[in-house]
């Protein structure tokens, strides 16, 4: 589904990703762990197409097409979802408006009919309920005044409504309380654990991986994947630290 080869990327002239290789097949969950500043979020932004993140070498193909050729919104329509480490506040734009615009733009891009206001609200309310988010919050401006955990939960509501094919979830577990962690973990499994879908989970902790069992775990350090393994690698990392395991 996703193939990243020899990816080099820079921000403001500073090289962050330095020859990263990664392949993700349909049906797989990959976890990416690594020290602060290693380039994990940068990888997510490059996949999402954030302006200012310049790819200087290498390639990314998604479902056989050159992802780097696509505008950010076209990547979304192709099925890529980026769950933000720091979800953005948008004053004056309600969650309902935001998400409906997003969903219908994606549907339009795929030649599907837009959902009516009623159909959309029903879908959004159901998804909010499954993620234990008060439906009233859908009416509030996007992420404005939301607590850290509420923002992350809101990311998952968006993912549930959009129903993407491939999700990059950047520290979706940070800021969540113990119950929320389980709810979000269950949500990821429910929405994404399907044979035709795949997930890239960026995380610092084993806790989320207890709920969402990864098929592969990678260590990203200094802009490269320095080590890959199965689920047990995460445990080893938690015991021994990056310096020991992936030097």
């Amino acid at each position: 589904m996703l193939k990243i080869e020899n990816l080099h990327a820079e921000i403001d002239g500073k090289t962050i990703l330095k020859g990263l290789n990664l392949s993700v097949n349909a049906g797989e969950v990959h976890a990416i762990m690594g020290p602060n500043g290693a380039g994990k979020s940068t990888l997510g932004y490059v996949l999402g197409g954030r302006p200012g993140y310049e790819v200087t070498e290498g390639s990314i193909t998604f479902d056989g097409q050159d992802l780097l050729e696509l505008e950010p919104h076209q990547r979304a329509a192709a099925g890529v979802f980026l769950g933000f480490q720091y979800p953005v506040e948008i004053p004056g734009v309600s969650n309902v408006q935001f998400l409906r615009e997003a969903l219908n733009a994606q549907r339009g891009g795929r030649g599907e009919k837009p959902l009516s206001g009623g159909e959309f609200l029903k879908l959004a309310r159901e998804e909010a309920k499954k993620l234990d988010m008060d439906a009233e919050m859908l009416k509030r401006p996007v992420n404005v005044g939301f607590s850290g955990g509420e923002k992350k939960r809101n990311e998952m509501v968006q993912m549930g409504v959009i129903d993407p094919k491939f999700a990059i979830l950047d520290e979706t577990d940070s800021g969540l309380d113990i119950d929320a962690l389980r709810i979000v973990g269950d949500g990821i499994n429910r929405i994404m654990r399907k044979p035709d879908k795949a997930v890239l989970l960026i995380t610092h902790y084993q806790r989320l991986l207890d709920y969402v069992k990864p098929d592969f775990v990678h260590v990203l350090a200094d802009g490269r994947i320095t080590r890959s393994g199965g689920a047990e690698l995460a445990h080893q990392l938690e015991r021994e630290g990056y310096a020991e395991v992936a030097a």
């Binding site: 197409g49 302006p51 919104h73 004056g92 891009g109």
Partner: protein
């Protein structure tokens, strides 16, 4: 014809600091255009169609509005408007259906005076729309008696030319004036307002949204004079400037020595869609009373890039994301319009402008 322009004050005078007076002469000298069509909103009440400053009686219904001879004021723009104009006068407790006024200009210049005089506890709503070309200049004198309420909405949709509005209002005891302006055409504009809080507990909301593109210039200078205690005034203005256009907003609050417990708020915000555009903001306070609450904020910025990318990453194309964010930015200033039909029309005009500007 255009020698009229010459007796306007020089730009050196402070109130005219940003004034683009050359624009007036240029607007008046534009080639005439065919009369543009404009529909009235679906509201009951009076409908007045002025073509080049003259009432088209066949296409108007006056209801409780009269035509009469009116004076100007001592302001350079207001003075020019003296002559036959429209007058809405309501007796105590009077309630009128909404009054709609459409000003159509085909070119040249025209000057029109008007007055809105509401006796105690009277309630009125006036909606004005400017379309066409040339230079249209209007003077409006408003007097609100004790407890009277006026909702005014004014939209400037002229694709070219210039619209100048001179406003003088006296707000009586516990009376309320809410005025919302929308500049969403291609014209230049100048709004000059002098509002006097003449009675205790008077309330004013005065603001709007000015949208400019290309080489357009819109300016607005509002002065609220709190002459009596317990008054509240809110000036909420949002400016969006693209290309090489310019918006200038000067909002002043004067509080007289005995106007204690005055609550004055000025919220001026500008959004630059391009770095080549300019928004000038000038909030001003002159306070002689000691027990007052005056808040003012003035900020100019660009669209939040992080929000733009967030929206794009969810599938919203960039131009649409920009339109949504810009629309959210101006929403504050338009949502003061109390009448739903009017508000929807103004919002649609703002949307149309945004869609065109963000192509």
């Amino acid at each position: 014809m255009s020698d009229a322009v010459l007796d306007l004050p020089s730009t050196r005078e402070e109130a005219w600091r940003w004034a683009d007076l050359g624009g007036l002469a240029a607007a008046a000298a534009l080639a005439p255009v065919a009369e543009p069509t404009h529909e009235f909103l679906d509201l009951p009440g009076a409908r007045l169609l002025f073509v080049d400053g003259v009432l088209d009686e066949g296409r108007s219904r006056l209801c409780n509005v009269r035509l009469t001879t009116l004076e100007g004021d001592d302001h350079a723009l207001g003075r020019r408007a003296a002559g036959t104009g429209w007058s809405l006068r309501l007796d105590a407790q009077g309630v009128a259906d909404p009054v709609q006024i459409v000003h159509v200009a085909t070119g040249g210049e025209n000057h029109l005076a008007s007055e809105i005089v509401l006796a105690d506890d009277a309630v009125a709503e006036v909606v004005e729309t400017f379309v066409g070309a040339g230079w249209q200049n209007c003077f409006t004198r408003t007097r609100l008696g004790k407890g009277a309420r006026l909702m005014r909405s004014v939209r400037l949709l002229q694709p070219a030319g210039f619209v100048s509005l001179r406003e003088a209002a006296e707000i009586g005891e516990a009376a309320s004036l809410v005025a919302v302006f929308l500049g969403a055409g291609g014209q230049g504009s100048r709004i000059d307002a002098q509002l006097v809080m003449a009675g205790e507990g008077a309330f004013v909301e005065y603001g709007g949204t000015l949208l400019t593109s290309a080489e357009q210039k819109q300016e607005c200078a509002v002065r609220v004079n709190h002459a009596q205690p317990n008054g509240a005034s809110r000036q909420v203005w949002r400016a969006v400037a693209s290309d090489r256009s310019q918006v200038s907003l000067a909002a002043a609050v004067d509080v007289a020595r005995h106007a204690q417990k005055t609550d004055g708020e000025q919220s001026l915000r500008g959004l630059l869609l391009h770095r080549t555009a300019t928004v000038n903001l000038k909030p001003e306070l002159e306070i002689f009373a000691d027990d007052v609450k005056c808040a003012h904020g003035a900020t100019v910025g660009e669209l939040d890039n992080r929000a733009l990318f967030y929206m794009q990453s969810r599938g919203i194309p960039k131009a649409r994301a920009q339109a949504i964010l810009t629309r959210a930015f101006v929403a504050d200033a338009l949502e003061r319009i109390g009448d739903e039909t009017v508000r929807a029309a103004f919002e649609a005009d703002a949307d149309a402008w945004l869609d065109a500007a963000l192509q």
